[in-house]
Amino acid sequence: MIDVYINLNFESKEPIYTQLIHQIIAGIAKEEILPGERLPSVRSLAADIGINLHTVNKAYQQLKQDGFILIHRQRGVVVNPEGIPKADETYMESLKNTLHPLVAESICRGMEEKDFLQFCTEVFAEFKKGKEKEK
């Protein structure tokens, strides 16, 4: 069994709950965390990290809303066994909205389009590599 790490940075400007969301989604993207797999309960994860229950709960609720996980009363927290909902129009729209300020800022800072796209390619490659490592 390989270890699946959630790695949090406490000095980062990014709030802990968003870090948590991003880490879990990244784990699923790399296929380190598989559909149907159990995740630690809110209490257990909060205790291990040493943070408030609400922080973990907030992250889990968000993940549940976006279809990444299911929260059962008995079975606990499970990664969506039917897989993550495919990108639909709403998702595309929100992705565009998220990218917008990022692109805007890089333009202001004088970045070339191809450099920006190069970054995207590199990030995609990172996840592909993660997947291969799993296999």
């Binding site: 699946v4 406490f10 205790a47 291990d48 040493g50």
Partner: protein, 368 residues
């Protein structure tokens, strides 16, 4: 060998050893209750600090031993004087050793301030989401054996109830003479078995706590520290199960001495051998495993450039954990080997009060 010497050997020496060498048994990410980067642990400065700590606590141990022997030679033979003297000397010893610790804790804080470790490096925390899916402790079903032994003891006690003398010894003095008796009744003959049940439940609780305690993974080397941590928990769990079973057997033996005549020497030797084995076992485990498994060698070494999250502000004086935001009840001690509680959690405090109240209350309640 007289009883004072035995006490010295069985109690004091293990206490001295564990006091002096604690800094060597902690995690490499901690020094005198202060969190540090792992590589700083092996710097000459910290090595010197640890050496000086051994010297100072060593001197304290020698002074305590000398006082102890002097008192014995001068001759306080009276039971009450011995008890008072022992209480004073042990309190003084504990107080002084804590003062020594505090001095080093302060020095360590100054060093940390000087080197700005936590400011220059990225502080991170690693959590393995599958940590609790693996076997962290041995099954509590092992304690069924102890429960069966206890049940057997109760059955034997009632089977041979008539053979038990009208008075049962409750307390011994330092010369091995009985100082307190209880009249035989169904209540008093059950003191031992009830204590057995209490202790087994306590050991079950400790075993559960070992499994539940906070996951503490070193950010610099998560794979290695994770592996060490699992072995650390399993070994202490095995130790708890073994000790619990041996303790149950010893209580059964004591109970049987009420029923059947037993060699008086055996009555001293068996508990003695038991205590020696238990303390040597604990010290050996601390030396070989270290806190959180920090002394275990593993094949993996991949050194990242990050350090653990600096949580010094939650550790009052470096030893008392008080963190309102942390829902965990149990976590690893900072300075020492084993676990401690989160003092900001009322539930942890309640559990501990109940354990202590029962330990004091059961013999008092049933002894009358």
């Amino acid at each position: 060998m007289n009883i004072m010497m035995i006490l010295l050997l069985v109690i004091l020496i293990p206490v001295f050893i564990s006091l002096m060498f604690t800094p060597y048994w902690t995690r490499k990410t901690e020094s005198f209750g202060v969190s540090i980067p792992e590589e700083a642990y092996s710097s000459t400065e910290l090595k010197g600090l640890r050496k000086r700590y051994v010297q100072m606590t060593g001197i304290l141990s020698i002074v305590t031993t000398v006082l102890f022997l002097l008192f014995y030679l001068v001759g306080g033979k009276d039971e009450n004087t011995i008890v008072i003297f022992l209480t004073i000397i042990i309190s003084l010893f504990m107080f002084c050793s804590f003062l020594i610790y505090l001095k080093f804790h302060r020095d360590m804080k100054i060093l940390k301030e000087k080197y700005q470790w936590s400011k220059t490096r990225s502080q991170q925390i690693f959590i393995d989401t599958r940590f609790r899916e693996q076997k962290l402790t041995y099954s509590n079903l092992w304690f069924l054996l102890s429960f069966m032994i206890t049940l057997g003891t109760i059955l034997l006690t009632f089977q041979f109830y008539d053979q038990i003398p009208m008075q049962i010894p409750m307390q011994y003095n330092f010369s091995g003479e009985i100082t307190n008796w209880a009249n035989k009744s169904y209540q008093t003959v059950l003191i031992m078995p009830i204590m057995q049940v209490y202790l087994i439940l306590l050991f079950v609780f400790i075993n559960v706590m070992i499994a539940r305690a906070k996951q503490q993974v070193s950010a610099k080397n998560p794979d290695k520290s994770l592996q060490q941590n699992v072995i650390f928990r399993r070994r202490w769990s095995a130790y708890i199960i073994l000790t619990g079973t041996a303790l149950t057997l010893m209580f059964t033996f004591i109970q049987l001495t009420f029923i059947f005549p037993v060699n008086a020497q055996l009555l001293i030797i068996i508990p003695l051998v038991f205590s020696v084995a238990v303390t040597i076992g604990a010290i050996a485990l601390a030396i070989t495993t270290g806190q959180g498994g920090s002394r275990l060698r593993t094949g993996i070494t991949k050194d990242g450039d990050v350090i653990d999250r600096d949580d010094d502000r939650y550790w009052k004086l470096g030893v008392l954990y008080f963190n309102k935001n942390d829902p965990s009840l149990f976590l690893e001690k900072r300075f020492g080997v084993g676990w401690t509680i989160n003092l900001a959690r009322p539930l942890a405090l309640i559990i501990f009060s109940i354990i202590i109240l029962l330990a004091v209350g059961i013999p008092l309640l049933l002894g009358n």
